[in-house]
């Protein structure tokens, strides 16, 4: 009997388990195979919702469902924490002293935030004027802090790349602009977006479009700022090269690392705890029978749910090939597809991969759409909202999304076209928020 063990029952692990279950339905029925998912807690969190929660757009209980219910009944769920993996003995050791032998191991334990790694961040002021929104408790605390906020300097800071959902901090800035406008106090709130990158985004065309939006919404941007320490009492953020940014409310995106057991598993991870992974086959570099998917890998793609979804199709096929002794396919191209919420019921949509940066065009049907790439539209926003249903009902069960394949398509994209509106960034007069206080 073959044992497939999947570490982590989040987005990537759940999709993978359900896809493999379907692929090997016959083997599972005849006890020729067993699929086990290991996760330390029983709740599955809809992570894209964490962006909306601080603005009161979702309640915490709307974002959580039982983990067990997202997995097919033929998949076993072991609720336990992982001590380490021994890739030589092909065994996973759990902290409760149990161990799980495997024939194929899939690492899908994602990434976690490590605020303690930045000096002063978890000291005085943490949870009072310094917050994060990458966990459910963190996003909930931030919601309460935003509701109490009556004006001052709001600073949104990315400590270091890579981070999960690289556009989420920008979306947070856009939504904050909308939120304070709606509350009638936007003129009393100064919003600054602070990034270690040299622009709003890593790829040129998108960076230009997003910089234009920041400008339009009167959000200041501070680039190439690597946060070295924070003084939560004084309300000051310091870079390693001694620049200072004062704040009344800090929303930090702390350092991200892989799950902590990875650093206890010789050979498996890099120095940030991300699994060293072949970017095309998703096989780990540690051992041929170990694979990785989603945020847990070190592949140079965005850490985003859409990437995990596209990877799953390639990885399920490669696990199949590996078990049958056939050569692996090199089918993963780094495909990512992200909605970027821009506030006031609009959103952008971007579609890109390892080699092709996000371009203008239509999606998913070439030249027709109905979605427009890299343009702010109401339909893109509706797409983002509808995605919550798609996530639970299409993505997690491991189904394909019609018209959206794992490999990025160039059809309907315009490689040369730069939008005329962003070539000459002009400051548009700011619309006065209705009901704004004098």
């Amino acid at each position: 009997m073959k044992n497939i063990v999947i570490l982590g029952g989040g987005t990537a692990g759940t999709i993978m388990a359900n896809r493999l279950r379907r692929l090997f339905a016959r083997e599972l029925a005849t006890s020729g195979m067993h699929i086990t998912v290991v996760d330390q807690d029983e709740r599955h969190l809809y992570q894209p919702g964490l962006l909306f929660l601080p603005f009161g757009l979702y309640e915490p209980d709307q974002l959580v469902k039982p983990r067990r219910r997202q997995l097919h009944e033929d998949v076993e769920l072991v609720q336990a924490a992982i001590e380490h993996v021994d890739v030589e003995r092909r065994e996973v050791y759990l902290t409760d002293r149990r161990s799980l032998p495997y024939d194929v191991l899939i690492v899908a334990t994602g990434t976690r935030i490590v605020p303690e790694e930045t000096e002063g961040l978890t000291g005085p002021g943490w949870g009072e004027r310094m917050f994060e929104f990458y966990t459910l408790p963190g996003a909930t605390r931030l919601r309460d802090a935003l509701a109490r906020f009556t004006g001052g300097r709001l600073v949104i800071d990315i400590v270091e790349m890579p981070i999960k959902c690289p556009v989420a901090p920008l979306e947070f800035a856009f939504l904050a602009d909308w939120y304070f406008t709606k509350r009638g106090i936007r003129d009393r709130v100064d919003i600054t977006y602070v990034t270690p990158l040299d622009g709003a985004f890593t790829k040129a065309i998108t960076s230009r479009a997003l910089t234009h939006l920041l400008d339009e919404k009167h959000i200041r941007m501070e680039t190439e700022f690597s946060a070295g320490r924070v003084d939560g009492t004084a309300g000051t953020l310091y870079s390693w090269d001694e620049r200072e940014i004062p704040f009344d409310l800090l929303v930090t995106i702390p350092l991200h690392m892989g799950a902590d057991y990875i650093s206890r598993s010789p050979g498996l991870g890099d120095d940030m705890g991300f699994v060293r992974t072949n970017p095309k086959t998703l096989q780990s570099l540690a051992a041929p029978d170990v694979f990785a998917i989603g945020d847990a890998t070190n592949v140079p793609a965005s850490k985003a749910g859409s990437v995990a979804h596209f990877e799953a199709e390639v990885l399920a096929d490669n696990v199949h090939r590996f078990i049958e002794g056939r050569p692996l396919g090199e089918g993963f191209d780094g495909h990512a597809n992200c909605f970027i919420e821009t506030g006031f019921d609009k959103a952008l949509l971007i579609d890109f991969n390892y080699d092709v940066e996000p371009l203008h065009g239509s999606f998913p049907i070439p030249w027709i759409g109905p979605m427009r790439l890299l343009e702010e539209t109401r339909l893109n926003h509706l797409g983002k909202l509808a995605f919550r249903w798609v996530y639970w009902n299409v993505l997690l069960p491991g189904h394909d999304i019609p018209g959206v394949g794992p490999r990025m398509s160039m059809r309907g994209k315009r490689p040369e076209a730069g939008p005329p509106s962003i070539t000459t960034p002009t400051r548009s007069p700011r619309a006065e928020p209705a009901g704004s206080a004098p």
């Binding site: 890593t202 070295g228 120095d271 940030m272 070190n298």
Partner: protein, 104 residues
């Protein structure tokens, strides 16, 4: 692509990172440092550059800024003084190894 650095034709990416670490010499490092406005290179710069290269050549991966700060013998704050704005990126470039892909 090929880029002339000093008087030598080298394989680089579009941003000027060497794609073949074996083509590197300390003189090429000096030349790249001049181009990116780092230096003149002192003993502390070389400690970081050599650590960077050795780690890349043994593990196939450039160390992160945090690893540099913990293990190279040069604290992070000093790294930013030696290589302003982007120590890991600049030390990789000067040290003739491919661009670290931490930043997506």
């Amino acid at each position: 692509m090929t880029t002339m650095i000093g008087n030598v034709a080298l394989d680089t990416d579009a941003e000027g990172f060497l794609q073949k670490p074996e083509q590197w010499t300390p003189e090429i490092g000096e030349e790249i440092a001049r181009e990116v406005g780092v230096g003149p290179l002192g003993e502390r710069h070389w400690t970081v550059i050599h650590f960077m290269r050795d780690r890349f050549l043994t593990t196939g991966q450039a160390p992160s800024i945090r690893t540099l700060g913990k293990e190279s013998g040069v604290p992070v704050k000093e790294l930013y003084q030696l290589f302003p704005k982007g120590p890991a990126k600049l030390a990789a470039k000067i040290g003739g190894i491919p661009k670290p892909h931490g930043c997506i």
